[in-house]
Amino acid sequence: MDRSMDGHPLQPEAPNAVPLRPASTVMRLARMGSLHQSRLSFMRVLLRRLKTNGWVFDRPLWRINEKGVGVATYRASGPERSYTLVAFAHDLPDDLRSDRVIAEAWDATFTLHDGDLSEADIDRLGGNVPYQEAGRISEAELSLSRANRSVRLFDYVATCLAAGTQPDVAQIEPVGYLMRTTAVYGSGKFGAADRDVWADRPEFAGSFQPELLSVWLIRTFTIDMVEHMARVRSPETAVKLDLAIRRRIGVGNSTGLGMAPFLINHPALIHSWIHARESAFARVRAVKQVSQQEIGLFTELVQRALVNAENWQVEHAYQAKKIYGLRHDLTTTLHHLSTADMSSDYVWDRLYRWAEAMLDSEGQEQLISLMLEPYPQLVDDLAAHMAADEAQQFCIDGTMEIGTLRDILQNTYDWTADIDYDSRPAQARVWYVSEEKLEPRLGERFDEEITDYEQPLAPGRDAKLAMADLTAFAADDTVAVFLMAHPEHRHITRRAQLVSHYPYGEIRDNTIAAEMLPIDLLRCKLSFFGATKFDPRSDRWLRITMFQGAPFPDELALFDPDSLVYPPLSDMPEMPDIPDTSDSEAPDSEAP
C-alpha cells in the first residue's frame, strides 16, 4: 500500500496499524449482501473517466415512428476511439413482457458497436440484435442487451409530459427508472468481441466498462423514448422532462441467479474488487488528522444516504428489515456525529470501531462507502486494479507438496469444520443450468432429479472431500501425484491454490445450504457495479437501479458525477428520532 499519498499525514509511527479486514470477516454471505456502492464502483469509475478525458456524445440517428418502433443510435467519442449504441425499439404486447431470461421479446434491444456505424451495419444488426441469444453479433460489437418498460412509470411519465406537466418526483423516486434491462451480455457472448480485443484500451480499464457504457447510453434512450411518445400523443402540449427530475431517473435492471455463479467462478477478479475496496478503507482509517471540511462532507452524505434509504422501498421481508435497520443505523450515526469528539486523531478508525459495536452490517458497510467519499486522492487510483487476467491463474502447481496443499485447504476452508455435509440441510441445494435458454437455477437436491447436472459451485464441500482423500498421501508427496490418482479433485485443487493468493476470492459460507440466500451474492456483485435500490423479488432474483442521479451525456461536462450519487438534501425529511428497534412495527424477519 502506498502510504505517502496526497499529503495526508498517515501514521508514520505505526505504518501497519490498520490492516485490511480479514476475508473471514468480509467474505461472509450476510456481509456481502450488505455492501453498498462506493467511489470504486464501476459506474462511477466510468463517468469520472469520460468526464476527465473530455468525451463527447451525440445521437446520429433517430428513426422511431409514431408507434415507438424503429432504430436510434447514440455515439460516444473519446480521445482515440468512438463507440455507438444501437437501440432497436419494438412494439411489445403487455402479455409478452417478462424479465426472465426465458423471455423471447422485449420493448427494446441494444448492442454497443466498436466505432461509427454504416447503414449496412444497421441492417446486419437489425436482423440479429432483436432476437438476442437467438441472433449473432460480431467482433465489431462489445455488448448485447435488452430492456422492458416499467409499467408503473413509463406510461405515467408519458401521460404527464403529453399533458404539458411534469411527473411527481415522489412517484419516480421509489421506482427510479423508465425501463429496466433484463440482461447485459458482454465480451465473447453470442459472437461479440473477446475481452482480449479491448482489454488494453484505457477507456475500459477496470471491470465491465463496455457494458456500463451501454447502460448509461440506454438511459438517454429511455428518456428520448418517453418524450417521443408524449410528443406523438399530444404534439401541441407535450413538454420535455425537467432536467432535475430527469436526473432522478436511472436504468433499472432485473438480475437473476446468473450473477451468483459468476462470483464463485471468478475468484481472482472478485478478490481484486474486494481488495481494492478494503485497501481504500484501510487507507482512510489510517488518516490521522481529519479536516472539518471532510467531516462536514461526510455528515452531509450520511444525511443524503438516509434520504436514499427512506426512498428505498421494497416488498421482500428480508430486505425490508435490512432497510429498516439501515435507516436506524444512519439516524444513530447522525446523532453520534453531533455528540462525539470528531477533532481527535484517527477519527475514521474510531468511527468504524464504534460502528462495529453499535450498527448492523448494513449500516457498517454503508458508512465504509461514505467514509471513502472525501478522499478521491487517496482512493480513486485503486480502481485501476479492479480487474484480473484469469488465464494467467490457470496452471496448477503440481510440484507443491501435499502438506502445503493440506495447509491451504485447512486455512481457506476452516469455516467448514462445523458443517456436516452429509446432513440434508447442509447440501440441500444444487446449482444447475436449465436447457431452457441455459438459465442458471437453484434446485432442491432431495426433491428434484437434478444432481447429475450439478455445477461445481460448492467449494467448501469439495474442499472437505479433497481433504478426506488427502489423508492417504504423505506430506512430502506432490500435488501432481495426488491429481493423477484423483482427477475428480483437480477443480478444487486449482481453486485452492488460486485463492491461497487471493483470499477475498473465496466465500466463507456454504453455498448449497438450505438457508443460503442467493440475493446476498447478487447484491455483492451489483454494489461493485454501482447499483442502488436493491429490490429482491424473491430469494433468488432482484431489481436494481443504475445511474440514478448521475448526469446525462449532455450535462456531463457541467457536473461532478460523484457529487450526484446520493439524492439531494432538498428531499430530506425532517430528521427522525431514533426508532426503537424493540418496536413490534419492524417488518417480519422471515425470508420467504
Binding site: 441467479l257 437453484l442 437434478i450
Partner: protein, 203 residues
C-alpha cells in the same frame, strides 16, 4: 475464443469428464486456436470417441495404466503438473494434437519440446508450435508418441491463429450437443422454482 473455450469445458463435462479435466479441455482449445492448430476439430474428434467408447476400466485413460486408451488431456495435465517427466515414450495416445498445449508448459526459449509420431515432428515452444506437415495431417485418432527436448527444424512453419474458424460449424454443433448433456431438462417445477419466480416481474 472465450466462447469456444467455455463450450469446450461444458462439452468435456458433458461426455463425463471430471470438471477439473474439462477445464483443461477449455485451456487446450484456447491454446491450440491461438497457435493456429485445428484444436476444435481435434477436441471434437476426441470427445466423440470418448463418448462412444465402452466405459471399461481405464477408459478415462490413467497414463500409468499404459493400456489402449491414453487420454491426452489427463496425460497432458500430468505432464504440465510435473507428475510425469520428460522424455517420455507413450503408446496409444488418443488425438495427440491435444497434448501440445501441455507440452508448451515444459518448453523454455532454449529448450522447446519435440513430439515425434513416426515421421511427423512437431516442435512446441512456450508460445506456439511448428510442424513438418500440413495441419490437417495432425488429426490422428491414436498414436505412439515420443516426447523429448529438441531444436526446431529449419523447414518447419510456425502457425498463428486468432479466433475459432467459423467454418468449424460441424464441430461446434457436436460440442454443443455434448454440452447439452450438462443442462437439466426443462420442467414446469424447475421453471417456477429454480429461478425464483416469486413476485410479479412485469410492473
Amino acid at each position: 475464443m472465450g466462447e469456444a473455450s467455455a463450450l469446450a469445458i461444458k462439452a468435456a463435462r458433458g461426455v463425463g469428464m471430471p470438471w477439473g479435466i474439462a477445464e483443461e479441455a477449455g485451456f487446450a482449445l484456447r491454446w491450440l486456436t491461438r497457435s493456429g492448430g485445428p484444436g476444435i476439430a481435434a477436441l471434437c474428434r476426441y470427445l466423440s470417441a470418448y463418448q462412444d467408447a465402452p466405459k471399461m476400466s481405464g477408459a478415462e485413460g490413467t497414463p500409468e495404466a499404459g493400456g489402449a486408451w491414453i487420454c491426452p488431456l489427463r496425460l497432458g495435465s500430468a505432464i504440465s503438473d510435473g507428475g510425469i517427466t520428460l522424455p517420455l515414450a507413450q503408446s496409444g495416445v488418443r488425438e495427440p494434437l491435444l497434448l501440445l498445449p501441455f507440452l508448451a508448459s515444459q518448453a523454455t526459449g532454449s529448450h522447446p519440446v519435440l513430439l515425434e509420431i513416426g515421421a511427423i515432428r512437431i516442435i512446441v515452444s512456450d508460445d506456439g508450435f511448428s510442424a513438418n506437415i500440413v495441419e490437417t495431417a495432425l488429426l490422428i485418432s491414436a498414436a505412439d508418441c515420443t516426447i523429448s527436448f529438441g531444436p526446431a527444424d529449419s523447414d518447419m512453419i510456425k502457425r498463428i491463429g486468432n479466433r475459432v474458424d467459423s467454418t468449424a460449424s460441424d464441430c461446434i454443433a457436436t460440442l454443443t450437443r455434448f454440452a447439452h448433456n450438462t443442462y437439466a431438462p426443462a420442467t414446469e417445477a424447475s421453471r417456477l422454482a429454480g429461478a425464483g419466480a416469486g413476485l410479479n416481474d412485469n410492473d
